[in-house]
Symmetry: D2
Subunit: 331 residues, 4 copies
């Protein structure tokens, strides 16, 4: 199912080379001033074609509201937003049809959907589907005015200097991965539950919905496994719950403790590498060498921070609503 | 909410020092031979009191079926299983009441539930709640007879030699964390969806429901972020989808590709360390030194593999049912 | 699935002649004073064996709390309640095994669950499963202190005089049905949504979960279909939304309008009639005459009002939580 | 929330006088041949402007597919369909803004959404939102090829002669209601569960999502309450479960028994009657006489049968998928 959330619920649809991609947002509180302008800043951050190392495919990504807005405000009913696909080159994909691209979903999609999948540009699997998520995230952020969500890329191709990591990809004519860190300040205490509704469960759930994500860790994360309890435990030092350290990443027992939320996301290298590769031609049943055509990011992680922020905002708003703590809408 | 799953749904309840902990399993197919014996092997693996480094609290953990079984077989209706709490020492916790233990949920629980939480032994937050999960996992494993799920501890206290890592904890009188690796063989192709129903999303969701988990990575995981695309991409080499490498951990585009599922879990050191600690007494509003009483694991990771297996089995069965691929019940 | 509700969620389990029936209530707010005493009044109303025309089977129906209560108050975690089955006569059902009782689920259960269903006393299909619902309803009513929910039986065996309708059943040695009317006063405005989350949808959904219910109508209901618009429309006469008439039953556009909620439920005659009946013996494949053994209600509708109230309270509390309008807990 | 279904899930959006209304269908199996042509027959049946007694507003209601179709077939991913609103006269509604129309949601919407609701033509509350449902129903029907769903209007304005009932409305210059009967043949055995997932619960849930529905009854329905058990019980007469009578309407214990599904829906008279009415002007706080402008159906029940069929098909397909009984796609 292509939906997420219980009280603030997003549903995505569309294909990379179809007519459009889009999203429906259900449960958005009524009365929020909302225009395309509110979404453009974040949508721009997600776009390719501008930043070095991102896909040369250029799309306007201008949000077209189809419902849920009246007199410039949200009505409380579903908001459907479309983004047109205008700059597609589907012929690049038709030639490649019988050779499933390694790292991509071509082969599993073919097995699962019996050959009915739209394979052009990855179809529904394309990261282009995250456009809608970014729009929904911008709306959630606007509602969560007192909370600041900031994701940045902290490593590219194994280098903490982004520029250097990217140059490695350019030099080797290959693609690279990266690591995103997200920090949330202004967190209320008490968001999340132990077990299945833990804040970590919800955040991890949506983060792995972002294409190319292969790992997540909270606070000290994997390093916590190497620490002693006396080191890792964050001592509470005041009545507001402030801790002296924050190895827990702001979550204990699945519940936010009011300290900053901190987590990191591992993003694999773009599957579409410029390098020649080998894969099975499912028609001839022979291994074949081939090079990937189409326009691609050298490092998808570059465009991911704003998506991570959006996903975080969607989770937080949904869980804050579950806690009956909706912030007052301030226009 | 304390439930997980859509077609095979588990709901946990109980408190560490209450009368019992338990689980209800809804959606279990009818006709499966099922007795307490089927659950005991895994329940035994979860128990403390036996293995070095685990809590001295000993509980029978004998499953008491309350519903859903008739003539030794599942009926297709909810299976409720109780586990009695017999070996509790609640007085250890009453003394400590005003000083929230670092790393534990004491403070957030107090804030969120207004002081109504059962604080004895962590109450509902206790890892004892995973007893039911292990029982449900054993049932799911029995149904998924052709799939093998195996989790092992691969690192304790930063050491790949488990014995050595544990000795570090004993020597320093501190607690340690660890890393669990889970490998699933016999995976069918096509389980999972892109985006919100990705297999990674579902697995990560339930893994972060296990107390003390702070990170998860699939296949190459965080190392993937340091690889080139040409290295990370797993080439498909035969018509069954077998790949030459398995950096993806058996999942592409959110969907199982038939290769082994591989993921790792980071587990933080037990919050209840024998070391003296400092925390705020919320009554006096002063920082206080204290030592944790009660009986605890030096390394909770030691008991976690069977819980990770159970959680994996629950996710896989649920998603296989979603794919309309329920294996034939073989008794 | 045997669960209902999104924020106040109930899950029922158990069988008529198994060890117990029970319920888990998830999402109950913390801090509510709650003892068995709070449930006994409503549980008593549901019981057979007292009122004329109800089953001679007598059960204590004393609620045994297994979790979620601490120091006499709810903790915010799942409340599991068991009711023991002590007064069972399973041998009555074994004899009858091959002849599916008309009106009962015997035949469909056998088809659907492959013969694994617990057939004794209707197993999981038994109205005994509503015991848990009544308990959950009593809790919901306690929280919804400012709302009064009252269901009464207004017709038995086609007679508006209950005594007379029941006498008809006794005289003819047959079973009879009845009609229940439920009126809710003190309703807040704004509960429900248009379409799938309409208050009517939610109420109808849970009412048809009560065994033997075959119809529901709101306000004028089926009579509305015979009225003119100018008659049926309820004119708003003051700023609080009070209407001069209440043909809508307190719901317009799926949303409560603050007037009394009014609906009626049709309950079919007890399937277990004392009269001789004919059905197919699925073993011999011959039609056979037989009489139903076991102890049964002449009119199940007599015990239904408290179940209808409970179901109403569960829906209202859940939807009020969805509206972020939880009333303050008053102990 | 504006979604329904678990495995075949529909989500509606749009407003009566906004740019469009629409639907997203998630969970539609891949490989179904699908074009606009497949939907037009049912969409035509829902339209106003043709049949006597229906609204003079004429809309093309031509389905515009935005996603989920590739090479003329469904892909297994969400299908979003838009229907443009071209023939709107919003000025009719602006004049009336301060006087909530009796029977309509004007007042509750205003209370609940703080004046942010799109009031033009009923906004999101408009029965125009059912256009998408009819489209989804046509798709579900195509998949359920072996099942026949047929709803007809059996009473208008209290008359079983439709023509006569409608003439009453015309003569009195008032609106009238009606009763729809739906019969499903070719039902598989075993669809539904006892309690919350009963087939009656699911059908009733979605039926009350259709604007103006105020009652539903299955089989004998409200008449069952006046019958004896020996009359109402449907005797099983052959090994396939055929019953001699069908007072149960094809459902026992919440589960389909393979006999025809039969239920009836009560539809209230159109709230927008041509007659002069009285209501409170919420601005002046005075009662005011007024006549409803805009274009309306004299009897909304006339256009409802195809919506009832669509809703039935959506429920049945969803529940058949839950039973893991998806029929083979036949193109």
């Amino acid at each position: 199912m292509n939906s997420f959330g219980r009280l603030f619920r997003v549903s995505i649809f569309g294909e990379s080379h179809g007519e459009c991609v889009g999203i429906t947002i259900d449960g958005c509180p009524a009365g929020l001033l909302l225009t395309a302008e509110d979404l453009l800043f974040d949508l721009e951050r997600r776009k390719g074609g501008i930043q070095k190392g991102t896909t040369p495919r250029k799309e306007d990504d201008y949000p077209i509201f189809k419902s849920g807005i009246f007199n410039g405000k949200t009505t409380g009913f579903p908001i459907t937003i479309l983004f047109e696909n205008n700059n597609t080159r589907s012929e690049d994909y038709q030639k490649q049809r019988d050779i499933p691209r390694p790292g991509h979903a071509d082969w599993v999609a073919h097995q699962k959907f019996g050959g009915n999948e739209d394979y052009r540009g990855g179809g529904h699997f394309s990261a282009r589907l995250t456009t809608g998520l970014v729009a929904a995230g911008a709306i959630a952020k606007k509602i969560l005015a007192s909370i600041n969500i900031s994701a940045t890329i902290i490593e590219v191709g194994g280098e903490t200097n982004i520029e250097k990591g990217l140059q490695k990809a350019i030099d080797t004519k290959d693609s690279v991965g990266g690591i995103i860190e997200c920090i949330v300040t202004g967190m209320p205490v008490g968001i999340g539950e132990p077990y299945f509704d833990s804040l970590e469960s919800a955040l991890a759930h949506i983060m792995f919905a972002i294409p190319a994500v292969k790992g997540i860790e909270f606070g000290a994360g994997f390093k916590a496994a190497k620490m002693f309890g006396s080191q890792h435990n964050d001592a509470i030092e005041n009545i507001k719950g402030k801790t002296t350290t924050n190895y827990a990443g702001g979550i204990v027992g699945g519940i936010s403790n009011g300290n900053n939320l901190i987590f990191r996301i591992a993003i694999k290298p773009t599957s579409s590498t410029p390098k020649e590769q080998t894969s099975l031609n499912w028609n001839t049943e022979q291994m074949e060498k081939f090079s990937i055509k189409g326009r691609h990011d050298l490092c998808v992680a570059l465009r991911a921070p704003v998506i991570v922020e959006a996903a975080t905002a969607i989770v937080l708003l949904d869980m804050i609503l579950l806690e009956q703590k909706l912030p007052k809408i301030i226009n």
